[in-house]
Amino acid sequence: MNDASVAQRRSAADLLPSGDGGAKRRMRAISPSRLAIHATLLFAAALYLVPLVVMLLTSIKTPEDIRTGNLLSWPETFTLIGWVKAWSVVDGYFWNSVKIAIPAVLISTAVGALNGYVLSMWRFRGSQLFFGLLLFGCFLPFQTVLLPASFTLGKLGLANTTAGLVLVHVVYGIAFTTLFFRNYYVTVPDALVRAARLDGAGFFTIFGRILLPMSVPIIMVCLIWQFTQIWNDFLFGVVFASGDAQPITVALNNLVNTSTGAKEYNVDMAAAMIAGLPTLLVYIVAGKYFLRGLTAGAVKG
């Protein structure tokens, strides 16, 4: 790629669409700096990729290979033994995570959607106060509720069950899901609801026929956000579940941090990849919604 072509393709005129001839010439003159920008960006991208590449490479090496080679050395012999072993360890826990994540994601999203609908379209005295209280839940350090929550789960007979984790994730997820939907619905004109009311539609009809069909983007954002949060959760998993009910993050941590026996780094890395793949796939497929969730969570109100 030579300088001239770079400059042609990405001249200053791209940044500032109107750009007169003078500005264009000036930019062409400093095209080496644009090359430097690209080089820097690509180098940074490579750095960000290193851990993933290392994980992948390590996971398909033999323990022997790991000891003799280095992180980025090509495997002498390619083996899936690490993946097979890892899967045999985390198999059940992976499905635990699935069993926790799917219902928790669906329920918390549904509750969030209804809450958001009420908080934006059917405000009543005190609903704003409630929204404020809920908003704080987005910042709540969960350490402050762990003990009472575990007492409660024990009382309900849900301690150490995936159902208990579903409940916890729903309860502490509705702050964010409500925020997503509420902030989405406040941008919908009130007149839409008024028109539907005059047309004779009731509370649920308006929600189901008018608002829900236009909520696809925010539903995606919410589903993906919740899935990532719940799948990646460790704190609730380690506190509220033990043994057979553990989610995969806890199982992975146990596997990696056991001090018994020889360390099998290929198994560790394969297990880490198994734990990371679902959210990574979701990110690759629906990155746009993932980013919107992150920034929506960031820029509140």
């Binding site: 402050t144 929550a149 509705i174 409500t178 380690v238 690759i284 960031a298």
Partner: protein, 302 residues
């Protein structure tokens, strides 16, 4: 001819319709009041009791807080939080802003590059911790790789070095979150009024000046949001420590979240654990209250 509608007075159905919004919100209100605020109060109460393995409600006043203050491990955890939080926030911001500004220069395949910067954010901290624990492995990780590559004197054993282990956490956390900062600022940069940049160009300012003097200062709200979120991640950081160091060597890489977990659930000292949780809440509040205040005030001015 008008479509027939029965002109009845308020029917029971209408009454139900009127109450539906409140009915729908009621379960969530209950959950929030009990599960958030009730439980915080409960934890607060526990922090004033001598609860150990089991909750007890024998009032001991501020005794647990005193014990916490006398606990060396708590101080290490708190100091670590300051070091970890400060470095994590600072470095993430610098890298994030830097990459965002570079990416804002109409880069080809910007979407692809952006996707790479942001992917760590999709991973669990446990996965991140596992990966970096391996990368920073003394003897087999980057340590060995760079020596293999010809840097003979290279040594990287921070993970087992009491004084430096905290930096390992910083590295992993920055890797995970800096792409997110980049995304936040890139979105902010895209929302800057292009005519301001054009006006500055007409005034003769170069691109670096335009960014440093005009564009970035206008992104103050984004900056505050980013700091808030990063600080929040730092204070809640528990999984990263658990996966990478488990607080070790010794308790040299402990963070308050880790401290709270191990005292409450492993060592059976609920009272002191609750006290530490309340102090974490206080830390979040000292950040949150001014932030929300300025946010709300800003809203009112608009």
């Amino acid at each position: 001819m008008s479509i027939a509608t029965v002109m009845t007075k308020t029917s029971p159905l209408d009454v139900l319709q009127r109450w539906l919004p409140k009915l729908v919100l009621a379960p969530s209100m209950l959950v929030v009041l009990v599960g958030f605020y009730g439980y915080i109060l409960w934890t607060l109460v526990l922090s004033f009791t001598n609860s150990s393995f089991m909750p007890s409600y024998k009032w001991v006043g501020l005794q647990q807080y005193m014990r916490l203050m006398d606990n060396d491990r708590w101080w290490v955890a708190s100091q670590n939080l300051l070091v970890f939080g400060g470095l994590f926030i600072g470095i993430s911001l610098v890298i994030g802003v830097f990459l965002a500004v570079l990416l804002d220069q109409r880069i080809r395949r910007e979407g692809f590059i952006r996707t790479i910067y942001l992917y760590p954010m999709a991973l669990s901290m446990i996965v991140t911790g596992t990966a970096w624990k391996w990368l920073l492995n003394p003897g087999l990780g980057l340590d060995k790789m760079l020596r293999d590559w010809g840097w003979e004197g290279f040594r990287l054993d921070w993970l087992v070095d009491q004084d430096r282990v905290i930096y390992c956490l910083v590295i992993a956390a920055v890797w995970q979150a800096s792409g997110f900062v980049m995304a936040l600022f890139l979105a902010g940069l895209r929302s800057v009024d292009q005519s301001i940049i054009r006006a500055a160009q007409v005034d003769g300012a170069g691109l670096p000046t335009i960014y440093l003097r005009i564009v970035l200062p206008s992104l103050r709200p984004v900056f505050f949001s980013a700091v808030m979120i990063l600080a929040h991640i730092a204070i809640k950081s528990f999984d990263l420590v658990a996966a990478m160091t488990a607080g070790g060597p010794g308790y040299s890489s402990d963070l308050p979240a880790m401290f709270m977990y191990s005292f409450t659930f492993s060592r059976g000292q609920m009272g002191i654990g609750s006290a530490s949780a309340m102090l974490m809440l206080a830390a979040i509040l000292t950040l949150l209250v001014p932030y929300l205040y300025s946010e709300l005030r800003g809203k009112r001015h608009e």
